[in-house]
Symmetry: C2
Subunit: 211 residues, 2 copies
């Protein structure tokens, strides 16, 4: 498989963790979002969604959207599982996945903050404030769900799909110096994840395109 | 089942279509987002995510996040299917689902536009421009995928999960008078969906809390 990724893209980071947890090998192709490489015709012809990550799963078959890719990985490479087998629990895991993938990340990503800065002349501190507040609102929704379970990881004693989403989002929050003291359960889970080899191998600091 | 919904919430609308397509009965409980009813302690104690839709699937078991709920419905009530059986096709459907659920809707919703207006003093026309441009960018990613298939619905001759996401998003775009002439495939699919009884029954104009 070939992974199109940017070292600091949180959506790429999710997928890298999943590939590592499932023990799958892949070739890494860096796509520099700062230089808008994802918008170039060459990349767009591969992935019309013009985003990272994308995964070439077989010759010429390229799939996009990180959450769709996590579900594809789970269906085609079921071990170790990233979702529980019980349907109610699966729904609870996916609710946390979507709370991060829909209600936090899209509001904080580079194309949005660039647009706020360039089109609406928001100052850098206002853009940071914008990102922080969507992260905090989102974490306020997720923290009680994780606290209610109070397990090693979000939903049990092995890492799963919710953890894959949470770790990159908290990485971003820490990079932006968001105060995470109100979220001890969520940060506890992240700290335990970050001690695992799969999470270390997937971390932004350890990628081929890390500067 | 009890559905917590707001007639004009596009995330609620997705779930209503799915419930209708699968022929499932439910009690409708209106949650008025304009009055911030979703933030009231009574609702928050039911659904800590403080969003609509939520679905009480059995006594006291309340699930949130529309895409997680669509997956739960598909797993627990598989007929008629909303996803194809082939794993590659499932990934392509879910990529469109996430292109709308992550890259369009969250940027255009009420809490975001309110924040832009109240915190950053964006004028009404700038907020409309903000919403329009995220819809257009998102539709530009989705249109070639649908065009490539060129079928009755997004991915075949029966409506599926991608159609459930597309119809409410195009409803919003039309309400905001976004120019959709560059998207003939996407609007063609939506117009065909809107002729089906399940989509009509789920439409914002036909809900118990429609003013």
């Amino acid at each position: 498989m070939k992974l199109y990724s940017y070292y600091r893209s949180s959506c790429s980071y999710r997928l890298r963790i999943a590939l590592q947890l499932k023990g799958l090998e892949y070739d890494y192709i860096g796509v520099n979002l700062l230089n808008n490489e994802q918008l170039q015709p060459q990349y767009k012809s591969l992935n019309p969604l013009s985003l990272v990550p994308a995964l070439e799963v077989s010759q010429g078959e390229i799939l996009g959207q990180s959450v769709a890719l996590l579900e594809w990985l789970e269906e085609t490479h079921p071990l170790p599982p990233l979702l529980p087998s019980n349907t109610l629990l699966r729904a609870r895991v996916r609710a946390v996945v979507n709370a991060i993938a829909c209600d936090i990340q899209p509001l904080c990503n580079l194309s949005v903050t660039r647009y706020l800065h360039e089109q609406h002349q928001l100052a850098e501190q206002d853009v940071t404030q914008w990102q922080s507040q969507w992260m905090i609102r989102g974490f306020q929704a997720v923290e009680p769900v994780i606290a209610q379970n109070a397990q090693v990881f979000c939903f049990g004693d092995t890492p799963g799909m919710a953890d894959l989403l949470l770790v990159p989002q908290v990485y971003n929050a820490r990079r932006m110096q968001v105060d995470l003291t109100p979220f001890p359960y969520l940060t506890g889970v992240v700290d335990r994840c970050n001690e695992l080899p799969a999470f270390m191998a997937a971390a932004p600091k350890n990628q081929p395109d890390t500067p």
